[in-house]
């Protein structure tokens, strides 16, 4: 493998710094919960969108750098990433729609 012998130590620490910063931002937002972000937003709150986007960014860096996906052949990478992403997005979309439907149908029947 061509990529096998180059050293990536500096890049590894850079990515660690980046992942740490993202985690710190997430935790800080989770503790402070600024009202403007927490109580408003499309679909769910802005805060939740920020969390989801930051999580995907973390997942990208872990897969690409730590798991060294960037060094694999293009179609090997795609056979893994496209398969997983497609199936997960599909499943999550259907189940969340179903969950919303269950709420609309059942919650009027619950007496609080």
């Amino acid at each position: 493998m061509a990529h096998a012998h180059e050293s990536n130590v500096k890049r590894i620490w850079m990515v660690f710094g980046l992942l740490s910063v993202i985690t710190i931002i997430e935790v800080a937002l989770g503790i402070i919960k600024p009202e403007a972000l927490h109580l408003h937003g499309p679909g769910t709150s802005w805060l939740n969108w920020i969390f989801i986007i930051l999580t995907l960014a973390k997942a990208y860096y872990i897969t690409w750098t730590f798991m060294h996906m960037e060094g694999e052949k293009k179609w090997f990478r795609r056979s893994v990433v496209w398969t997983a992403v497609f199936l997960i997005v599909y499943l999550v979309t259907l189940l969340l729609i179903e969950g919303g439907y269950l709420y609309e149908t059942l919650s009027p029947l619950v007496k609080w």
């Binding site: 096998a4 050293s7 660690f16 935790v27 503790i31 939740n48 872990i62 052949k73 499943l91 269950l102």
Partner: protein, 326 residues
């Protein structure tokens, strides 16, 4: 390739597919990746089911930072900090793992061994933290009353949740004793009974005019649980069926029982992955020390195990978001 048949390979070559490398990846590495894909689908199945259930009960789901508020050895409420610490530990052990892989490419045996060792320690700290988190969750911190229609009632004073022991005085008064093999039918026993009876809690509520009842229902404008007036609270309390302390698969003082079920199931399944990752890391660690890979001429085994370890970290990133943050 000469023909479309399996190439008979010498036994030595079994684990690298007889030298055939589609996509330039060895047999072992490729299969590790495809295993990770299937495992990722398992985890996303769990998390998607969690999402469905949460959407179904969107107006009464427990608020995570009111549930996970403790740090070992320190009293008081510190939401998020401990899970954040656990996340850091796991990310850091991922870093030492990738450094081990990097050192392996350069054939630096002792460096690989030390980085593997650090990774194992990180994993142990994480699993230990998770055990502590489970213990805290199972024991519970406040206690609540469950009504005949399955709702959980918690108690607040000045808007902050208080424990049953903060306003219920005296020990259990209804004379109910825990049934053990020693004091009753020897062939039967029962689970731990609660510290107080429902009647006792109701009386204490009547006696303390500053205590209020909080229901599971979320005020969606404020994203906070609804606090009832004194009269309404008493009304609900009179429907009380049992006193709940802590959480298990049947009852949950924090709210919806299925929240506890998902918590045990998803973090448990992840914790089991961490545990098996530690065991595999230990095996590889000893192989490194014994010089197995030095003799083999490459450290690819460390790389494959590293893939699994990073995957465990990757899953935690998602569990952390969807269980604790969102």
């Amino acid at each position: 390739m000469e023909a479309n048949i399996a190439i008979p390979s010498e036994s030595k070559e079994t684990w690298n597919g007889g030298g055939v490398k589609p996509f330039g990846a060895s047999y072992g590495k490729m299969m590790m990746w495809f295993f990770i894909v299937s495992d990722a689908l398992t985890f996303s199945g769990f998390l998607a089911a969690y999402g469905l259930t949460r959407f179904k009960f969107i107006d009464s789901w427990p608020i995570a930072d009111e549930v996970f508020t403790h740090i070992p050895f320190i009293h008081g409420e510190y939401p998020m900090y401990y899970v954040a610490f656990m996340t850091f530990i796991l990310i850091f052990s991922s870093v030492t793992m990738v450094l081990a892989v990097d050192a392996g490419h350069k054939m630096q045996k002792s460096k690989v061994a030390w980085y593997m060792f650090a990774t194992i320690i990180g994993g142990l700290i994480f699993v230990g933290s998770q055990a502590w988190e489970w213990n805290t969750f199972i024991k519970g911190s406040y206690g609540a009353v469950k009504t005949t229609d399955g709702k959980i009632l918690q108690f607040v004073k000045d808007g902050k949740q208080i424990a049953l022991s903060d306003f219920v005085v005296d020990a259990r008064v209804d004379g109910r004793e825990q049934h053990t093999r020693k004091n009753g039918l020897w062939f039967e026993k029962e689970g731990t009974i609660s510290e107080y009876s429902v009647a006792q809690v109701v009386n204490a509520y009547k006696a303390n005019s500053d205590v209020q009842v909080r229901t599971e229902l979320i005020d969606l404008d404020k994203k906070q649980k609804t606090i009832l007036s004194r009269e309404e609270g008493l009304d609900r309390l009179l429907k009380g069926k049992m006193v709940v302390e802590g959480a298990n698969l049947k009852v949950n003082e924090y709210g919806n029982t299925i929240f506890a079920d998902f918590f045990f199931f998803i973090t448990g399944f992840h914790g089991f992955h961490v545990f098996s990752g530690i065991v595999i890391n230990i095996i590889i660690f000893f192989n490194v020390i014994l010089g197995t890979y030095e003799k083999r001429g490459h450290y690819e085994m460390v790389e494959k195990v590293g893939l699994y370890w990073h995957f465990v970290d990757l899953v935690w990133v998602f569990v952390f978001t969807f269980f604790y943050l969102v």
